[in-house]
């Protein structure tokens, strides 16, 4: 389960960054990039919290 979540999270990050590179290369339009980026964002936030950040960070006081 953890592995599937991780794969989905990294897919989310890929959807966040790769479309912009495709816009830069002239492969896709800016509006399509925005849609894909939103999909990537949702994918990341619905999967990453379940496996990332399980250990406590030093207190920042």
């Amino acid at each position: 389960m953890q592995t599937i979540l991780k794969i989905l999270s990294f897919l989310g990050l890929a959807l966040t960054i790769v479309p912009s590179l495709l816009v830069f290369s002239g492969v896709i339009e800016l509006s399509f990039h925005k849609t894909l980026m939103l999909a990537g964002t949702l994918l990341w936030f619905f999967t990453a919290p379940f496996w990332l950040n399980k250990t406590k960070h030093p207190e920042a006081v």
Partner: protein, 469 residues
Amino acid sequence: MKQTLAKQLDAINEYEREPVPQSKLKGLKSFIGMYAGEHTAGTEFVIGPLFVVHGVTAPDLFLGLLVGNLLAVLSWAFLCAPIAVKTRLTLYFQLEKICGKYLVSGYNIVNALMFCFLAGSMIAVAATAVGIPFDIAMPGLEDMYPNSVGWMVTVFFVGAVITVVAILGYEQISRFANVCAPWMILVFIAAAFAVMPQLGITSVGSFWEVAQSRIWTGVPVEGFSKFTFWHVAFFAWFANMAMHIGMGDLSILRYAKKWQYGFASTTGMFLGHVIAWIASGILVAAASGAITPGPIAYNSAGIAGAICVMIAGWTTANPTIYRAGLAIQSIVPTVKRWKVTLVVGLVTTVAALFPALVMRLLDFVALYGLVLMPMGAIIFIDFYIIPKLGLRSNYASAVNSRFNIAAGVTWIATLLICLSLNYFQGIEIFFLGLPGWFIAATLYIMLSKVYQQKQTAPHIIREVSSSSF
């Protein structure tokens, strides 16, 4: 709910007045993640654009960022981290031992006030994204006061939410911020790449030419001073002066197993600051000079961009308000912490109403570092130099004093001299941190010699002083 809150506060208060034990030390990974997250904040969306507004040239920007951020990393690694791992005390307790309780209270009030203003600018940044769906009139570069009722309502709404979360959910929001960090950095990069074709950048080879002719043109916006390599380098170095040279991160790096973990700040400076400031500069150029963070991120990255601005502002304003609350609470320990945080949140929200805080952020950040820097110089000198001169380290603690006059006069006099240099000599605030540090160091040595000789009493037991690392 009360029990949960009490538990959270207890967790935060761990080892406030004692060294962190060996068993609680953290590995390098914790610091790499934390620094990357902390330095990809809502304010980065403002700092990058302000460099453009101040007419920095592209070579000055890139070289300045490289040099300045490198110096910042070295400051963390060689000034702050070695003392942190030797003493393993919070900044506040270390200062109390040197300066005494009353002086530390004064420092805490100033520190809390600075935190409020900093958090206020982050709330304002988040509000520029929250206001997008409601088509609220955003403040412009020239606006110093709130420019619409819609803006005021949005800021109050965002400020209220952030304050409530700061009271109830510090731990959760801190974890959420860590989840956001890698995604946020990618949004910054992606947004910049996506708008490059609009500026005429269609290949890596064409970047530099367009960067010089359309982004960092070297021409400041009317009414703004011209920035050079030196401005960028010193700003990048001193943007977090309060944390490294000012020793604020003693509280964090005391958990580090080795002093070399100070180099973990590289992630914050180079992944966070350098990339975010360059990316947000590109977004401004693509938005024809508009600098309001929410709309420019929305234009380039759609809803994800607006969410990024909102989260970047929120996740960094939240712990900042919390820290301000802690600083004040240490002065009035009898008042409940949630009440203190509520008042701090209110002050912060009122500050956020004024766009001047955002539009003059560079000056404020420089002032913030300058005001807290002398205490960092005092800690450094007290740790390395004072014992070598035959004087007492941690003097207030050694003689049970509540106000170390040598430290107090050093702090005030340094600030007065620096502000005089700014006012009478016209030296810009960005450049005062460096001479200011040497002024503070010299004053503290001289005043300690005089003060400690006067105050010496035979019963005083010399505290264990620390040697160099």
